[in-house]
């Protein structure tokens, strides 16, 4: 079998989702955002909801998510995506609406908006990408930055007295009666990616069934901000992030 046989349609076992555009991604090599985009795109395609899905992009590295997924998008001010999603879903209840937010966007500047959207039980899906750092602005401390972790604004390591504690916002969100599904996933290898995809599908299905807010945290890496190679970042994440942010479902109703 040569290359020409391998690329015949009948031999294809995997392809790029049509929902992914051909634009070159601006993400750093090794960044988790790209993988998460791919998973969301695949689920949208498989569910056949491309024409009914509206994404809300945040301020953060994924601000340009609208260049990568071929759906309608709204670009929100920093932290405000859940407010946009609230109105969009209420005004077009038959559509699928999701926000895509980083830890600075969702857990710092946008804490009020995410808490209240989840507490109202808006029928939206929230993707919360926790890389424990502000990627876009050059690697400053995030609310989820671990104790001792060095960032541009914690050059000697995060210190509780100076910087407070890491915020486990997903655990707080799971307490809110408006949420129906709260889970923490990751995307560093094929196994976790498959699990993440199941979670994404469940979240969109919950939205169709008007069950309330589905909230998926994805623990990810920022190798540029962490100043590590992609491989080393994944190891560091498993060793340091997972104990603080354990994977699994917190709520599934």
């Amino acid at each position: 079998m040569d290359v020409k046989d391998i690329i015949k349609p009948e031999n294809l076992v995997y392809g790029k989702s049509d929902v992914i555009l051909d634009n070159v991604m601006h993400y750093c090599p090794g960044c988790t955002h790209g993988t998460i985009h791919k998973v969301i795109a695949e689920v949208i395609e498989e569910m056949g909801i491309q024409d009914k899905t509206i994404g809300i992009s945040p301020v953060g590295c994924s601000v340009l998510a609208y260049n990568y997924l071929d759906i309608d998008w709204q670009q929100a001010a920093h932290g405000r995506a859940p407010a946009l999603a609230t109105a969009t879903k209420r005004l077009m209840p038959e559509k699928y609406v999701f926000t895509y937010q980083g830890d600075g966007d969702l857990a710092s500047i946008g804490t009020a908006e995410i808490m209240h959207a989840c507490n109202r039980g808006e029928n939206i899906v929230v993707f919360f990408v926790n890389n424990a750092i502000y990627g876009m602005t050059g690697g400053q401390m995030a609310p989820t930055t671990l104790i001792g972790m060095k960032t541009a604004t914690t050059p000697y390591g995060r210190n509780v007295e100076l910087n407070g504690h890491p915020l486990k916002i997903t655990e707080l969100i799971a307490q809110l009666p408006g949420t129906c599904y709260v889970t923490r996933q990751s995307a560093e290898a094929a196994g976790p990616v498959r699990k993440l995809k199941k979670a994404v599908r469940k979240a969109f299905e919950n939205s169709a069934q008007k069950k309330g807010t589905s909230f998926i945290e994805i623990v990810g890496t920022c190798n540029s901000g962490w100043k590590m190679s992609p491989v080393k970042s994944n190891e560091w994440m498993k060793e340091n992030m997972f104990p603080m942010y354990p994977l699994g479902d917190m709520k599934d109703e």
Binding site: Y66, W73, A77, R80, L91, E113, H116
Partner: protein
Amino acid sequence: MGELRLMKGNEVIAEAAIRAGVDGYFGYPITPQSEVLETLMARMPWEETGMVVLQAESEVAAINMVYGGASCGKKVMTSSSSPGMSLKMEGITYLAGAELPCLVVNVVRGGPGLGTIQPAQSDYFQSVKGGGHGDYKLIVLAPNSVQEMNDFVGLGFDLAFKYLNPAMILTDGMIGQMMEKVELADFTPRWTEEEIIAKSGTWATTGKTKNRERNISTSLELDSAKQEIFNHKLQAKYKTIEENEVRYEKFMCDDAEYLFVAYGSSSRICQKSVELAREKGIKVGLLRPITLFPFPSKQINEMADQVKGILSVEMSAGQMIEDVKLAVNCRIPVEHFGRYGGIITSPEEIVEALEQKIIGG
């Protein structure tokens, strides 16, 4: 003849919104405008027209809900009063930057800070000169009666959609709380999804169908060269608005030797001042800007050929006066008068100020 009622200005905003076929209202309580949200909640328009009404967790959230709804091509609005408007400025500049239509109502109270809950006109700069960051303009309408509170809801949305720009009704606690006779507008049905697609399908995020490219509602442009081109386009739009949408009213101006320039509540009070002054033999008229952006600069400039001096009357320390002075270009004296910090100016005080600052000065 439409339905006649005796209503408060704030209640009329709510009623007019339902009748204008508004799709969504998002607000947060603050005196002196809470009746807007209260009236809507009591009216339950979702049962009648399907209109969404939501008490948001903050003004920040409310204006960003407006951004989301406006992005869908829906008719959406919010209202607040001064401290709440400060919070909305972030969302307003994003709306302007994304060229989204919406209606924002500011029922002004005295400031700065938490200030007072009594009426004032001290948010002129914030409304007309920016407030949020960046080079943007709002279309600003200044009603001076409960009737105009009704009329400007429909007008505000018409202009907002015509120019894809946020429109603002800039009023104050006096008009908001005052009861007057009002002729309500007839009901306009809410737009169907098909109508929205026909009207705003080139930009509204209603879901990407096969026959078109994806729509993106954004104010971001990382390429400065493109951002500059976009800014030129915005400025050209504002110029068109200035050319086409100036609205003003003249009262007793034909034989006037002096002029009051006043908007909103102050213009109502100035009508009385004109009468009082004329009883004393002072020939004064009133020019009332109805649109604050675009400002009736040309009309004020023309009046400067006729009158000897202008008293700019506003319940602030003197904000609109800057635009009046620019319009007049130093050709005749222009002075400011007005009580502020929540005190309403009396008609007599205004005549006295005219005599002292303009006629005597």
